[in-house]
């Protein structure tokens, strides 16, 4: 399953021991040139431009959307001390963190079931994991909105069981947003975990049983550590896009559930306050980088990046 391989590979490096020595000192550079040029012009340069934009101030007496470069670093302080911005920023990390934990709780057993009980149907089951991607991400999120709506089936069931009161609902709410995030990124969690579980040598698990380890001990001491690269990849592939997402919050939440992505989109595209939007983008990126580095160090897999 190449998509699984792709996702599993994102933070892994597979050096090949006997790589052929090719002739032509400059050949690799010619191969790299077009792609790296594209990435430099349209990824690196924009980030620099965005940083420049984050230090701009409005032109005095200018129109909406007119800014000049003043290297006004105070933009960062102004934005970070404004509760309309730091509250959604905090909420983004809370929601995406919860969604990541939930996706791990759902995705790990699923990946385990496919890898160890899937038999010859493993590849077909993997196709079913990615099958939701064949339907537009936005349409699926809109579908959840209607499934969770007051007239929908979920509320009807929850009301009949008494979990939800006669007047209360589940959409729109923080619960719906977190559920939507969990749902949308679940395949990104499941595939890399599957990829590393599939590589686990079954004889190691049998050996743990031969050494009188109970199945759970065997799992804790053998299977789980060996699947950690997949867990790390999966949690990052869930957490990073979830923290920046604004579709779930926009479609499944209330205004009180907005995430930082919603604020960035709104300040950039609706208010045309480019410097503030740029500051927010940078703070989001920096926070994610710091969290990811801390996490990777904590998991002891820094050599993987």
């Amino acid at each position: 399953m190449s998509i699984a391989a792709a996702l599993g590979e994102t933070i892994e490096e597979q050096p090949h021991k006997n790589r052929p020595q090719k002739s032509g000192r400059f050949t690799p550079y010619w191969l790299l040139l077009p792609g790296l040029l594209w990435l430099t012009i349209f990824f690196v340069v924009p980030l620099v431009t965005l940083f420049g934009t984050s230090l701009m101030t409005p032109v005095p007496g200018g129109d909406v959307g007119e800014f000049e470069q003043t290297f006004h670093f105070a933009n960062y302080i102004d934005t970070l001390t404004d509760s309309t911005y730091y509250v959604p920023l905090f909420r983004s990390f809370l929601y995406s963190g919860l969604a990541t934990v939930l996706a791990l709780a759902i995705g790990y057993p699923l990946a385990y079931a496919i890898a160890f009980k899937g038999g010859r149907y493993r590849n077909i089951l993997l196709v079913l994991v990615i099958a939701p991607f064949f339907v537009s991400f936005i349409l699926r999120t809109v579908a959840w909105r209607q499934i969770l709506a007051d007239e929908g089936p979920v509320v009807a069931i929850l009301r009949s069981v008494g979990l939800v009161g006669e007047t209360a609902g589940v959409y729109p709410s923080a619960f719906a947003v977190i559920m939507g995030l969990t749902y949308n990124f679940l395949p990104f969690m499941t595939l890399p975990i599957y990829a590393s579980l599939e590589r686990v040598d079954r004889r190691l698990i049998e050996a743990s049983g031969d050494l009188y380890a109970k199945p759970f001990t065997g799992f804790r001491k053998v299977t789980w550590p060996l699947s950690l690269p997949g867990v790390v990849a999966g949690t990052l592939l869930t957490f990073i896009p979830a923290a920046g997402d604004y579709v779930n919050a926009a479609l499944l939440g209330r205004p009180s559930n907005t995430m930082i992505g919603n604020r960035i989109e709104y300040t950039f595209l609706s208010v045309n306050d480019y410097p503030t939007a740029a500051v927010l983008s940078f703070i989001l990126m920096a926070t994610i980088l710091v969290l990811v580095l801390l996490y990777i160090r904590r998991m002891g897999t820094e050599e993987l990046v």
Binding site: E9, R19, G35, F43, A113, V135, I138, T141, Y246, S281
Partner: protein, 261 residues
């Protein structure tokens, strides 16, 4: 007894998890038959009209055509550029490998809002009008990394001795590449191309920042979500779902059969 329960608990669990994953897909399919007209929210009765006339609602088919044209172009360019990078990374030792790897990895580790807003900041600063080409540039940018990673995985698992053997049999370097390496890497390149196509076709956030008046299918669905999405959008999504699923399942079943015989 315990193992019997263990096996089946896991299977039951998997069924529930798959139900969760596929419920919105099923919902989209069922509501493609809804006799609802413009606001496809509440079930109002079964009809085949939406399937008979998928372009019946305004803008649905235009946005789908836009998305397909865009995704095809993005697939061709990003697969080409990404495959070249993957070859350089796996087959050559050169200075700057680390920096290259980082440049490939970072776009995947950057949230889409940041990618989208940074490109928009660039386009606004140099006064590039937004439209098809700005979205194209943005999509190629984020697809390259995924292509590199997919092709690299396939290339790294190839035994380079096959190529050496070909050269021992007097194949030139170019011939060995064309007749041995390329056919063996082809499935990886095909997978990368499919991935690029689906990433581009389904992208919303980066598109929304850089598209201006140009409308793709996801953007059309998002914009009409407040007013009500026409059932024709469900028809198109369902049709694409079944086509993609059939294609992938056929290739998977074939590989299973081939392994068994």
């Amino acid at each position: 007894m315990r193992t019997w329960f263990g096996n089946n608990a896991l299977k039951v669990y998997a069924v529930i998890a798959f139900a969760y994953l596929l419920l919105p897909v099923a919902y989209t399919f069922v509501f493609s038959f809804n006799d609802a007209g413009r606001t496809n929210i509440v079930w109002q009765g079964f009809t085949l009209d939406n399937w008979k006339n998928p372009c019946g609602a305004p803008q649905v088919c235009e946005s789908v055509v836009n998305s397909i044209v865009l995704a095809l172009g993005v697939t061709i360019v990003s697969t080409l550029l990404g495959t070249l990078i993957a070859f350089a990374l796996v087959r050559y030792q050169f200075r700057g490998r680390g920096t290259t790897n980082l440049t490939i990895f970072l776009p995947m580790a950057t949230p889409e809002v940041v990618l989208g807003s940074s490109l928009l900041a660039l386009f606004l600063n140099i006064f590039v009008p937004l439209g098809f080409w700005t979205v194209f540039i943005a999509h190629v940018m984020f697809c390259i990394s995924f292509v590199v990673v997919t092709v690299k995985a396939r290339l790294a698992s190839l035994d380079p001795r096959l190529e050496q053997a070909a050269m021992d049999l007097y194949a030139s370097e170019r011939e060995a590449f064309r007749r041995i390496t390329l056919p063996l890497v082809a499935p990886g390149i095909a997978a990368a191309a499919l991935l690029a196509f689906s990433l581009s076709f389904d992208d919303f956030i980066i598109t929304n920042f850089n598209s201006g008046q140009f409308t793709t299918f996801p953007k059309f669905v998002y914009v009409s979500a407040t007013r009500g999405i026409p059932a024709q959008a469900n028809v198109i999504a369902s049709a694409m779902f079944f086509i993609a699923l059939a294609l992938v399942l056929v290739t998977q079943i074939r590989t299973i059969r081939r392994k068994e015989t």
